[in-house]
């Protein structure tokens, strides 16, 4: 059995490495994306001002006037303590409690400075009631924030298409049929495909990660082992998604359609590019069923917050359990022809 898996594994690896266009696509694309973000967008924050507001009466007076300010995105926060870190990291420019007229800003944040001026202007009649509280913390640059998502996204493309598309092509052109005429079993074939894709994606993305870290340099507070674990598990999960897609489809067009239907929503709704903070609650719920959300968030928590294995265990659990389910379903419904 291991002989057969090994044989298929080697053949698939050779195919991948020699297919220049696929290789270039999977290595160059993420690097390109990162550099575009690193050099074109870091100075110019694409998001407007964000102010977190604690529930309270803002129907009249200065608080109401402040909330009328245009171009500020007011986000409802339930309490101060749990959200303070967002000010520390420049994710939110200010936290404002209308009940006590206290506000929290980060001294190093230019946006915070501007929003403070606007707040003070709104309170022109009673400036003394305002109470400033300074918090400290480094800015999380967009690049630091976006990197985990870009790696996760790259893994997603590679996993879905590398498994889904390739198996469908094998089926269409009769490669699967020829393999079926040998002692190779479906499980052996699928295992080899999973292993080959897994190690290639992990290897390629590790290289990408190291290169980007070298050139751009980004924040990494947590353990590399945990990060590796998250990306590997995410990779397995997405490969299993691809497996389910590829289980029966026999034309490239249909496979392409289904894979795009899976990957594009994930690309934009998993919080890879933009924070889901402030998004419609319905969309936030929806994001939770996308594996890419869990990979991105877990990786972000590790890299930006230095989260340990316990803090990310819920993401790991979701990824692990769904991967097992997808794998079983994929292997069950798999057809050679």
């Amino acid at each position: 059995m291991w002989n057969r898996i090994y044989a298929l594994f080697v053949a698939r690896n050779l195919e991948f490495i020699r297919d220049r266009s696929a290789l270039a696509w999977s290595v160059l694309l993420p690097i390109l994306i990162i550099f575009v973000f690193a050099f074109a967008f870091t100075d110019e924050n694409p998001e407007k001002f964000k102010v977190g507001v604690i529930p309270g009466d803002t129907s009249e007076g200065a608080a109401a006037a402040f909330k009328q300010t245009r171009f500020i995105n007011f986000i409802d926060f339930d309490e101060v303590e749990t959200n303070l870190f967002k000010v520390e990291r420049h994710q939110v420019d200010m936290l404002f409690d209308p009940n006590t007229s206290r506000y929290w800003i980060n001294q190093t944040s230019p946006n915070g400075y501007i929003v403070e001026k606007l707040l003070v202007a709104a309170y022109a009649d009673s400036p003394e009631s305002l109470q400033q509280i300074l918090v400290e913390g480094d800015e999380i640059r967009y690049i630091d924030w976006v990197i985990p998502g870009v790696i996760a996204m790259n893994i997603m493309w590679g996993a879905l298409f590398g498994i889904g598309y390739v198996i469908v092509r094998y089926r269409k052109f009769g490669v699967l049929k020829r393999l079926r005429a040998t002692p190779v079993t479906a499980m052996e074939f699928l295992s080899a495909q999973i292993l080959s894709r897994l190690w290639l994606l992990v290897a390629v993305n590790t290289v990408i990660f190291i290169c980007m870290d070298y050139f751009v340099g980004f924040r990494m507070l947590g353990s590399y082992f945990n990060l590796f674990l998250v990306f590997t598990l995410g990779c397995i999960n997405l490969i299993c998604c691809g497996l389910v897609v590829a289980a029966r489809i026999s034309t490239e067009e249909v496979a392409n359609g289904v894979l795009n239907l899976l990957s594009w929503p994930m690309m934009f709704l998993s919080g890879v590019w933009f924070s889901l903070e402030g998004a419609h609650p319905w969309m936030q719920k929806f994001a939770l069923i996308l594996p890419l959300t869990h990979v991105t968030e877990a990786a972000r928590e590790i890299m930006i917050d230095g989260a340990g294995i316990v803090q990310i265990s819920d993401h790991l659990l979701v990824l692990g359990v769904s991967a097992v389910i997808l794998l079983i379903v994929g292997a069950r419904i798999f057809q050679w022809e």
């Binding site: 002989n3 057969r4 090994y6 044989a7 298929l8 080697v10 053949a11 698939r12 050779l14 195919e15 020699r18 297919d19 094998y170 052109f173 009769g174 490669v175 049929k177 020829r178 079926r180 005429a181 040998t182 002692p183 190779v184 050679w336 022809e337």
Partner: protein, 294 residues
């Protein structure tokens, strides 16, 4: 000789179409069994059920008395009518891959030597010519030293030289003791290679015997062949029951002298006359009323 593969009451339907309609036969160990029939007769469907690739709707297939299983997979060599190979892989790599699938294999260099592949061993499989690819597919089918070899139209689309070449190689395999199941729509091929032939049409076996026995059973007469231009259809069909095929009129007769006298009586020029024994092509025509290559 023991039966190695036994097929009973095999049926396969595709929607309304019954592609294989209740066929049964046995293949003896060490023999070459040919399934002969025109395109669409159901040859591929039959052979693929026997290979365990397609599931029959009814009927059973037994390999050495048992249902097809892992032992069969290990001992069967299979060459499909058309096969794509993995891309970006060299001839040697694909052979190494396949040899790892089996417990008991031939040496790759030996196979490459025998099937004239050694020059291409390090070449991408997509760059092979038709004949070279067919030889590679045959070598791949033989990599596990199969006890039974399935060949589905192995020479269709090959030039005459490559075809003869492949026949020689198949014969060699047979001499080494393997059982062969072959489908073809070439009469010469079946006649050349097979010990037993089943003629298929519309999913049924319409005749089944050794090639010579088939011929002997169905005709003891010969064919007088005249160029179609030399003998007008009215005369040919009415007076001689001739069958017009391609450019020739074929007259079946048990008494050549009498037929020639008769032809002379009608002033038919005999310059282009040919007398030959009847072949499988004629047999097929007689059995089905249509031509094999149509």
């Amino acid at each position: 000789m023991p039966v190695i593969l036994q097929v009973s009451n095999l049926v396969k339907r595709f929607g309304q179409l019954t592609a294989v309609n209740d066929i049964s036969f046995e293949i003896y160990q060490g023999s070459c069994f040919g399934l002969l029939g025109p395109n669409g007769a159901g040859k591929t469907t039959t052979i693929e059920m026997m290979e365990g690739i397609k599931t029959p709707d009814a009927g059973t297939i037994r390999y050495q008395g048992e249902a097809l299983g892992q032992q069969f997979r290990n001992e069967a060599g299979i060459m499909f009518q058309t096969t794509a190979l993995q891309e970006f892989i060299t001839v040697r790599e694909i052979m190494v891959q396949f040899s790892r699938f089996y417990p008991n294999t031939s040496s790759i260099d030996e196979l490459a030597e025998r099937y004239a592949l050694h020059e291409f061993l390090n070449q991408d499989t997509r760059k092979l010519s038709g004949g070279q690819k067919q030889r590679l597919l045959l070598a791949m089918a033989l990599i596990n030293k199969p006890k039974i070899l399935f060949l589905d139209e192995p020479t269709t689309g090959l030039d005459p030289q490559s075809r003869r070449n492949l026949w020689k190689q198949v014969q060699l395999v047979k001499e080494q003791g393997a059982t062969i199941l072959l489908t073809t729509h070439y009469m010469e091929e079946a006649y050349e290679l097979c010990d037993e032939i089943a003629i298929m049409d519309h999913g049924r076996i319409i005749a089944h015997d050794a090639p010579d026995a088939l011929l002997a059973a169905h005709f003891d007469d010969v064919v007088v062949q005249i160029h179609a231009k030399d003998i007008p259809r009215e005369i040919g069909e009415k007076e001689f029951q001739a069958i017009y095929r391609n450019d020739s009129a074929h007259i079946l007769t048990g008494d050549v002298n009498k037929t020639i006298e008769h032809l002379l009586h009608f002033d038919i020029p005999l310059d282009r006359l040919r007398i030959r024994a009847r072949d499988l092509e004629d047999l097929f025509l007689e059995l089905t009323g249509k031509e094999l290559r149509a």
